[in-house]
C-alpha cells in the first residue's frame, strides 16, 4: 500500500508493479480520479479533503491496510513518511513500514539531537543554540558568540517551514514567535532554535542505503542549491563544485552518521558547503525517499524504491561502494503550479492542457493528467522533469529544450521560469549558491516574450475566429467543477 498521493504515489507503484507486487492506493475526495488512484490494483477512499483528515490520518490508513490485506506500507515523502508514531503503529499492526526504524527516525528527525549524533560520528556541524521560545540568557549568549545574521529554525522542521533569517536584535523576538507558530501548525511541535548563518552556501546532499545486516554505502551527491523560499526547485548530480576529495570526505561522513544512527533503508544526509572556504557542515538527515531521488537513479542506473522494498523485506545490499560510479549527468526541475513572477504565489485551476515533452534522456515523474483540477489542499508540485546526458552541458540542453516543449494551460506554472534559470550564464557555469534566485533580479521578470507578442495577438484573433462561441466552454468556479459530467459520472448521482 502506498500512503501518499501525487507523483510519488505513482512512481512507487510503478516499481511495485515491476516487482510483481499488487498495489493499494488511498485517496482524498479531491483525488478520487487522480492518476495514483487509477493505476492502483485497489483504491480506498479516505473520506475528506484536508491533509489532516486524509493522508495524515494514521488510524484510517492502518485500518485500510488491514482491510485490504496489505503486507507493507510505503509512505512516500512528506505526510507520514518521517513520523515515528506512524512507523510504530505499523509495526504494532503487523505491517512492514518501508523505511527506517521509529527509533532512528526519532533520533534524526529532531534537528537538535541529530546534530549531536552527527558530531559524535565525527561530521562537522553548524553551531546552534538549545531550543528557545523567547529571548533568554541562552539566546543572548548565542548572539554574543555568533552575531547577526542568524537563522531561527524549527526543531521538527523541513521545507523551510518554521524558518526565519534574522538580521538584528529587534527582529529576534518576532521571528521566534512567528517561526514557533508556523512550526506548531506545520509539525505539531513549536520548538525552535538559533543557528549560525552560513552566507552563500551550497546545499549538497549524499544519498545513502543501509540494509538490516550492517551494510551501508553512499550513492554520491545531489546539488540542490537552486531554491526559492528554502524549497528546492532544481537539482543536479554530480555537483559542479565537488572535487573527488570533497566527495569522498562527504560520502564518508554521511556513511558514519548513517551507521551511528543504526539507520536502515534509504536516507539522505544533507550538508551545507561554504562556497568560500570549501568547508562542509552536516545539516540534517532525511529519513525517507527524497523528491529529487530520480537524478541519482539516472546516473547510477538503479531503482531506489526497489532497494527500499528489498531492504524492508530483509534482503542484503549486493552493491559495493567501489561499484558506485556515476555515468553522465542528470538534472531535475520541479514543475509547480505557482507564479514565479508574483512572489511564487500558488495557482489553482483546471489543467486544460498538459502536454509533456518526450525525447532522448527525458523522464517525467508526474502525478497529474489533463483535465484534472489542482486545489489548495496539498503541495503545489505537479511533476518532476528529469534530463540525463553524457555530460552536464548535454543534460542541461536537453532540459532546456524539454521545458520549451511543454505546453500547460489552465493554471500558471513555473516552466518558463525554470527555463530562464537553466539557460542563465551563471547556472550554465555551475557558479551558484542557495541565494541565486533571490539575488538575480533579472529572473523576477519573464524573459521578453514581447518579441512574440504580435504573433500571439494574431493567433488569438484567429482562435476567436475559429471558435468564438466556445467561450466560456465550462464556467469557472467550484459549482462548474461539480456540474462537469466527467467528474460526477462515476458517482451515480441523479438529478
Amino acid at each position: 500500500m502506498v500512503a501518499n498521493r501525487g507523483e510519488i504515489a505513482v512512481r512507487v507503484q510503478q516499481t511495485l508493479k515491476t516487482l510483481g507486487i499488487s498495489t493499494v492506493a488511498v485517496y482524498s475526495d479531491p483525488d478520487a480520479t487522480a492518476p495514483h488512484v487509477l493505476m492502483a490494483d485497489e483504491a480506498w477512499p479516505l473520506d475528506g479533503k484536508s491533509a489532516a483528515e486524509t493522508y495524515l490520518d494514521m488510524e484510517k490508513i492502518i485500518t485500510i491496510a488491514h482491510r485490504s490485506g496489505a503486507e507493507a506500507i510505503h509512505p512516500g515523502y512528506g505526510f507520514l513518511s518521517e513520523n515515528p508514531m506512524f512507523a510504530r503503529a505499523c509495526a504494532e499492526a503487523g505491517i512492514v513500514f518501508i523505511g527506517p526504524t521509529p527509533e532512528s527516525m526519532e533520533a534524526l528527525g529532531d534537528k537538535i539531537s541529530s546534530k549531536e549524533l552527527a558530531q559524535q560520528a565525527g561530521a562537522p556541524v553548524v553551531p546552534n543554540s538549545p531550543p528557545c521560545d523567547r529571548v533568554d540568557d541562552a539566546v543572548d549568549r548565542f548572539v554574543a558568540t555568533w552575531g547577526f545574521p542568524l537563522l531561527v529554525k524549527a526543531a521538527a522542521g523541513g521545507g523551510g517551514r518554521g524558518m526565519r533569517l534574522v538580521n538584528s536584535v529587534e527582529g529576534l523576538a518576532p521571528a521566534l514567535e512567528s517561526a514557533g507558530r508556523e512550526a506548531q501548525a506545520a509539525f505539531g511541535d513549536g520548538r525552535v532554535f538559533l543557528e549560525r548563518y552560513i552566507p552563500r552556501p551550497r546545499h549538497v546532499e549524499i544519498q545513502v542505503l543501509a540494509d538490516g545486516l550492517g551494510n551501508t554505502l553512499h550513492l554520491l551527491e545531489r546539488d540542490c542549491s537552486i531554491q526559492r523560499r528554502y524549497q528546492k526547485i532544481i537539482e543536479e548530480t554530480p555537483s559542479p563544485v565537488l572535487t573527488p576529495e570533497l566527495r569522498r570526505r562527504m560520502g564518508e561522513a554521511a556513511v558514519a552518521v548513517t551507521r551511528s544512527a543504526g539507520y536502515v533503508n534509504a536516507g539522505t544526509v544533507e550538508f551545507l558547503v561554504d562556497s568560500e572556504s570549501g568547508e562542509f557542515y552536516f545539516l540534517e538527515m532525511n529519513t525517507r525517499l527524497q523528491v529529487e531521488h530520480p537524478i541519482t537513479e539516472e546516473v547510477l542506473g538503479l531503482d531506489l524504491v526497489e532497494w527500499q522494498v528489498r531492504i524492508a523485506s530483509g534482503e542484503k545490499l549486493t552493491l559495493k561502494q567501489e561499484d558506485i560510479q556515476a555515468r553522465g549527468h542528470a538534472v531535475e526541475c520541479r514543475i509547480y503550479a505557482e507564479d514565479p513572477y508574483n512572489d511564487f504565489a500558488p495557482s489553482v485551476g483546471t489543467l486544460e492542457r498538459w502536454l509533456p515533452p518526450n525525447g532522448p534522456g527525458l523522464r517525467l515523474d508526474s502525478g497529474v493528467t489533463q483535465g484534472q483540477t489542482v486545489s489548495t489542499y496539498y503541495d503545489s508540485m505537479l511533476a518532476k522533469l528529469i534530463a540525463w546526458g553524457p555530460d552536464r552541458v548535454s543534460s542541461l540542453r536537453r532540459m532546456e529544450l524539454a521545458l520549451s516543449q511543454f505546453p500547460v494551460l489552465g493554471l500558471v506554472t513555473n516552466i518558463q521560469f525554470l527555463r530562464q534559470v537553466i539557460r542563465h550564464p551563471q547556472f550554465m557555469e555551475g557558479d551558484y549558491d542557495t541565494g541565486f534566485l533571490s539575488g538575480n533580479s533579472e529572473l523576477s521578470q519573464p524573459e521578453s516574450p514581447e518579441e512574440d507578442l504580435n504573433l500571439a495577438q494574431a493567433l488569438v484573433a484567429w482562435a476567436m475566429d475559429q471558435a468564438p462561441s466556445q467561450q466560456p466552454r465550462i464556467q469557472a468556479g467550484p459549482a462548474a467543477a461539480q456540474n462537469n459530467p466527467w467528474r460526477t459520472a462515476g458517482k451515480l448521482r441523479l438529478p
Binding site: 521545507g159 517551514r161 512567528s178 507558530r181 508556523e182 501548525a185 506545520a186 523560499r229 513572477y341 504565489a345 500558488p346 489553482v348 485551476g349 483546471t350 486544460e352 492542457r353 502536454l355 489548495t376 496539498y378 503541495d379 521545458l403 520549451s404 516543449q405 511543454f406 505546453p407 500547460v408 494551460l409 489552465g410 493554471l411 500558471v412 516552466i415 518558463q416 527555463r419 521578470q445 519573464p446 516574450p449 512574440d452 507578442l453 504580435n454 504573433l455 500571439a456 495577438q457 494574431a458 493567433l459 488569438v460 484573433a461 484567429w462 482562435a463 476567436m464 475566429d465 475559429q466 471558435a467 466556445q470 467561450q471 466560456p472 466552454r473 465550462i474 464556467q475 469557472a476 468556479g477
Partner: protein, 176 residues
C-alpha cells in the same frame, strides 16, 4: 471575417488591442490596430497546430479557454488574453487605496489580529493565512479603521475574496 477587441493580461500592464481577422483555408490575414499580418496556419485540431510567418519561420501553438481567459502557449511562452466586453453602467474597478483587503491567493484563515473599530496602519499585519502549508501575512494597504471582517477563523478562502473592509476614507484623509 470577424473583429473585436482583446485585452492581454500581463504582470507589467494590461494591453487592449483591436483586431480584424479573415481566414481563407490555411491563409489567415490579421489586422492588429492597423498593422497587417499574414499567417499560414496548419491546425492539428481546432486548438493546436503550427503557423508560418512571412519570414518563413514555423511556430507551434496550443490554446485553450480557462474560465473567461483565453490562454495561448506559443514556442514555450504562455500569453493570457480576454475578450473586452462592453462595461455595464455603474461598474468600476476597485481603486488602489480602496476599502477592501482581499486574499491574494487561496488558503485558510489562521489568525485574525484586529477587530472592527481598530485603527490600522499601512503595512500592519491584520490577518495570517495558511496556503499550501506556508504561513502568509496579510497587511493593510493603507491607514484606516477596520469596518468589518467578513471571514472567520479556519475559513477556506478563494483568491480575490474579501478578507477585511476598512472604513471609507474621507476626502481630506485621502489627499493627505
Amino acid at each position: 471575417m470577424s473583429q473585436g477587441q482583446l485585452r492581454r493580461q500581463s504582470p507589467a500592464s494590461d494591453q487592449v488591442f483591436d483586431y480584424r481577422v479573415e481566414t481563407q483555408g490555411e491563409t489567415v490575414r490579421v489586422n492588429l490596430g492597423g498593422d497587417e499580418i499574414e499567417l499560414t496556419v496548419t491546425a492539428q485540431s481546432d486548438q493546436e497546430g503550427w503557423c508560418r510567418t512571412p519570414d518563413g519561420n514555423l511556430h507551434s501553438f496550443v490554446w485553450a479557454w480557462a474560465g473567461h481567459s483565453l490562454e495561448l502557449w506559443l514556442d514555450g511562452n504562455v500569453f493570457t488574453f480576454e475578450r473586452v466586453e462592453r462595461r455595464r453602467q455603474g461598474d468600476r474597478e476597485s481603486p488602489v487605496g480602496g476599502a477592501d483587503i482581499v486574499a491574494l491567493m487561496p488558503g485558510t484563515v489562521e489568525q485574525i489580529l484586529v477587530q472592527p473599530g481598530d485603527p490600522v496602519e499601512r503595512g500592519q499585519t491584520v490577518i495570517i493565512m495558511e496556503s499550501m502549508k506556508m504561513e502568509l501575512s496579510v497587511a493593510a494597504h493603507r491607514d484606516g479603521v477596520v469596518k468589518q471582517i467578513p471571514v472567520g477563523l479556519g475559513q477556506q478562502v478563494d483568491k480575490g475574496m474579501r478578507l477585511l473592509e476598512l472604513e471609507e476614507q474621507s476626502e481630506e484623509a485621502a489627499s493627505n
